[in-house]
Symmetry: C2
């Protein structure tokens, strides 16, 4: 007699292509993630035990475990020893990513516009030199941009980059985000250190963002490092809080 499961074990149609160059565990992870996204795998439902899943797919258990683990790391699945693996109930969107404002806006369907105010070389101030790890008074790129959405200014972005990393053309900066340019130049971003705060707008800031002097502004400073540990970007940004806020999901480090 079949048990009336409260959290039923879902039977999925899964398959892997062994001739594909895509790793098997990755194929499986993608299919599981798609099934969760699509609703085939409902929250709370059990995934079926790993051994049986492996034999059904003709895979080994380590491979299946690797696929499941990657989704656990993403916060989509939860494993319980002695119980099984189940789909997380809550609406996990996406964890905090190192994304540019441009990408954020674009994925929100906003089609952002950028106006490059300054694109030049300057000698590094003490603050910039310390952040980028370059000698004081050495030459660095300085970029100032205004980000607009629906024709309204939304953020004022001021960035500093060490020399020689990539050539920054104003036209490109207006067409896409800075991170995308860096990735395209072969730089592998690794980590970033951010500080988010707030302060009252100075008269100059207020004018740039069409706010009143003294109006509250959201501020963010960031130093980004590539995987060799070099600082590749230092930015000081101010946002109009009525137009933008930082929204993200974060997972508990178990």
């Amino acid at each position: 007699m079949p048990k009336p499961d409260v959290d039923p074990t879902v039977q999925l149609e899964l398959s892997v292509d062994r001739s594909s160059p895509v790793p098997l565990y990755f194929q499986l992870a993608q299919q599981l993630e798609a099934a969760i996204e699509h609703g085939t795998l409902t929250p709370g439902s059990l995934l079926g035990n790993e051994i049986e899943l492996a034999s059904r797919l003709g895979l080994s258990r380590p491979t299946v475990r690797q696929a499941i683990q990657s989704l656990v790391d993403k916060g989509l699945l939860v494993r319980r020893r002695g119980v099984g693996t189940q789909v997380v109930h809550s609406q996990v969107k996406r964890p905090l990513e190192l994304s540019s404002l441009y990408d954020d806006l674009e994925s929100a369907g906003q089609r952002p516009a950028t106006k490059v105010l300054v694109n030049t070389m300057v000698s590094a101030s003490a603050e910039v030199a310390a952040a980028l790890g370059v000698p004081e008074d050495s030459e660095v790129h300085r970029i100032e941009r205004l980000r607009l959405a629906h024709g309204e200014p939304m953020a004022y972005l001021c960035n500093f980059l060490p020399p020689g990393l990539l050539d920054l053309e104003t036209a490109q900066l207006e067409a896409t985000g800075l991170y995308r340019l860096m990735r395209a130049a072969g730089i592998t971003l690794h980590s970033a250190r951010q500080t988010i705060g707030a302060r009252a707008a100075t008269p100059a800031e207020a004018e740039r963002l069409t706010e009143e002097p003294g109006a509250p502004l959201l501020t963010m400073q960031r130093v980004t490092y590539d995987d060799t540990g070099r600082a590749v970007e230092y930015g000081t940004h101010t946002y109009r809080p009525s137009r933008y806020s930082f929204e993200f999901q974060l997972l508990v480090r178990s």
Copy 2:
């Protein structure tokens, strides 16, 4: 003739205790992390190949790989196929954690003080009900706290909790953080959705935080979920930007 390595392969004294209940890969990961922290493993230095490392420790390669992988996930190491595994150059502190303000302050050596303003049950507004996933007008906990540092108010915290999860005693709330209480009550936190923004202080907010009306405030809203997907907390917080800002490290999801 030995090659003059620019990034030398470091020979560490590593050992594992097979009689310990602590997993072997975890023991190894801890020792490696300690060596990085301590400076024995300098940034840029190679870790030596996995096979040799495994045989030297009497472990299998999968176990060594699991240890290394956990540190890669933490952003401490970088693997390069055909090259080796090396210590990341930049100053990785810690990635963004789901930490309470209390823990943040305490780890900064600030010894925070908490003043509980309100600790009662209220009927859920539409906003609170939606965030917690409970019926509208059902009873929920409402907690209002003032967080002080050096005798000065720093943040005003307003939280809502679903009923029955834990009993909130004012004395406990003044002695420790909310997250610590929840963990102690057997709740396993899983993820949270946060929004950080800014706005001008209302007269009431200004008075609570001893600011002027209209002064910029840093705001944060958060819904926290446990590993079953239940919302276990909804909070609306305001911070004095002169006293507090959000600072964190984040890693690139490769």
